[in-house]
């Protein structure tokens, strides 16, 4: 071989070596980049899943997170939440992105139509980017092998084909559309509250087909033993909720307006307490429909009417925890002055809380509220009426207009919902 050929050959191999090195280096970098992107996506999905409160519905009592099996009483029978861990056989690990998208947006899983207990009627407004992030997260959750429980829905509602008709009537997929007249923060709040937080599912009354009534958005609805409150800006502003009140309620479970209870406790514990500061402000701005700070009004205490029939009942049964003047005790019982449960036109929650009590609530190592006992066996309807009217007139601007018949009706409804 000639010397020129040898040097040409050497040059060729040197170039090839350089090119290969560059290729592997770039491939390595793009692999690292991809891994980093995936990690960011999973992290984002985890945050979104928290705000969506998936854990609350998909975790059985004392069971493994997201493994399903929690029962939901519906008017048609019991539906059990499903295993949404990444287990490929019993969970959703075998879902393609398309399968996941359809479940979240259309309420259709690879096994058929989902019951609307899964709030796809709210989730369908998720952006494509957020749906991808959620998919990335769920496909990377710890797989838990746990078979799904069959629902106990009676005929003819157990025929899932019927859900297609329900979807045709009540569900239309589409993306979240920001309101151009509002700020970015307000729109972000709307997205978090209406879409991921799916607050409307509980706080909006439903029509005869059990679909949310858009014209009554957030006006409150009775769910078994409690009433999800009216959370329209009009009502929240009437009750003088401030941004700080809502922030405290959503992060600690209590504020000067009272504590959360019933279905709101898991929402705060698993979900809203994880909101970033910026998102929290967006949520409160949307709920109050006001981005400016709100002045805190003094809480109402009209003084005791010692001749009122509810006075003795209050002093005997309630003052020990809620205070002689309704001042409450930190970490034991909320104050009653300005208490949101009392300060509403409906006495449903005030009566139902007295009938059923509240289970103890734990937030962190220093914040817990004690259980409130149930007084269903202690008070008759007359006593309940007197007590609720007494508390309303003493600590709110509401009138003593709760009637005995209304209280009796709540007790009857309660018995039915508790069987």
């Amino acid at each position: 071989m000639k010397a020129t050929n040898i040097s040409r050959c050497r040059r060729f191999f040197r170039r090839l070596q350089t090119a290969l090195m560059a290729f592997f280096l770039l491939a390595g970098i793009s692999q690292i980049q991809a891994a980093q992107d995936q990690e960011t996506l999973i992290k984002q999905g985890k945050y979104l899943a928290e705000i969506g409160d998936c854990v609350a519905c998909h975790t059985p009592q004392g069971g493994r997170e997201l493994s399903g099996g929690l029962p939901f009483e519906t008017p048609f029978g019991i539906v059990y939440s499903t295993n949404i861990t990444s287990d490929k056989e019993t969970g959703i690990g075998h879902y393609s992105y398309r399968d996941f998208y359809r479940a979240m947006h259309e309420g259709i899983s690879p096994d058929g139509n989902l019951y609307p207990a899964m709030p796809y009627t709210s989730y369908h407004l998720l952006t494509e980017q957020d749906t991808r992030a959620l998919y990335a997260y769920f496909m990377n959750t710890k797989p838990v092998r746990q078979e799904n429980k069959a629902s106990e829905i009676g005929f003819p509602f157990n025929i899932r084909m019927g859900l297609k008709a329900w979807n045709l009537m009540n569900h239309k997929d589409g993306e979240f559309t920001p309101d151009p007249a509002k700020s970015d923060s307000w729109n972000r709040g709307s997205y978090l509250v209406n879409v991921l937080g799916h607050c409307g599912e509980c706080h909006t009354p439903r029509d005869a087909t059990f679909a949310m009534r858009p014209e009554a958005h957030f006006q409150g609805a009775v769910l078994d033993t409690f009433e999800a409150s009216d959370i329209t800006p009009q009502e929240l502003n009437r009750q003088n909720w401030t941004h700080e009140d809502l922030r405290q309620l959503f992060t600690r479970g209590y504020s000067r307006k009272g504590t959360v209870f019933g279905g709101m406790y898991p929402v705060v514990y698993h979900s809203y307490s994880h909101l970033t500061e910026q998102d929290m402000r967006a949520v409160t701005s949307y709920l109050l429909d006001n981005e400016a700070d709100i002045a805190e009004q003094p809480l109402t205490f009209n003084g005791h009417d010692k001749q009122a029939p509810g006075y003795n009942l209050y002093m005997g049964y309630c003052a020990g925890c809620h205070g002689q003047d309704g001042e409450g005790r930190p970490h034991v019982a909320p104050a009653l002055a300005g208490n949101a449960t009392l300060d509403r036109s409906s006495a449903f929650n005030a009566v139902s809380l007295l009938l059923n009590g509240i289970v103890s609530q734990h937030y962190n190592s220093t914040t817990s509220f004690y259980a409130m006992p149930a007084y269903a066996d202690k008070f008759d309807d007359r006593q309940l009426t007197d007590l609720v009217n007494y508390m309303r007139t003493t600590w709110t601007s509401q009138k003593a207009d709760i009637r005995l018949s209304a209280v009796a009706e709540i007790r009857i409804n309660m018995k039915q919902s508790l069987h």
Partner: protein
């Protein structure tokens, strides 16, 4: 503002007596009746040391925490405290302990004794409930656990309390089947 209250405590008519508004039952027992056997523990209704017995609807006894209950709650009612269990002679000397008190003595149940009156009252009410509605022998352990689980013993003497109550129920005719 003061109020007039009357009730029956350990079979004795009390009042009408003038009490200040907001007075808790445990203060009434201690300060007005000199019945100091009911102990003040946590003060927020959690430890159940202050438990007393009130005759409820249809003669069924119920237990009430006196540290969080206003004296108004007991107006016109029949109340039993730890001082009302043992039998006494005309001179007021104790002649016989109640079966529950004896069971705790025999099992060396208490240590410092602060929680004991609460345990005695709760167990007495339980025995009365079981006399009306007996339970299967196999369920006794669960029934005892259910009745006593809220009572806190800061000396952690739970085992002997639970053993004492279980033995008492099993050895008392008519409480089990």
């Amino acid at each position: 503002m003061s109020r007039h209250i009357q009730m029956t405590v350990n079979g004795q008519q009390v009042g009408p007596v003038e009490v200040p508004e907001g007075l808790k039952m445990i203060e009434f027992l201690h300060e007005y009746l000199n019945l100091t056997g009911t102990k003040f523990g946590c003060g927020v209704g959690v430890c159940h040391a202050c438990t007393v017995i009130v005759e409820g609807k249809n003669g069924v006894s119920e237990v009430v925490r006196s540290c969080i209950s206003g004296v108004e709650r007991f107006a016109g009612k029949k109340v039993r405290t730890i001082e009302g269990h043992a039998k006494r002679n005309e001179a007021g000397e104790i002649t016989e302990l109640s079966p529950v008190q004896m069971a705790f003595l025999e099992h060396f149940s208490f240590q410092c004794g602060w929680c004991t009156s609460g345990f005695v009252n709760e167990t007495t009410a339980l025995m009365e409930r079981l006399a009306k509605n007996p339970v299967a022998v196999s369920d006794v352990e669960q029934v005892v656990e259910e009745a006593l689980k809220e009572h806190i013993c800061r000396c952690t003497g739970y085992v002997k309390y639970y053993q004492g109550v279980k033995a008492l129920i099993l050895n008392t005719r008519g409480l089990t089947y």
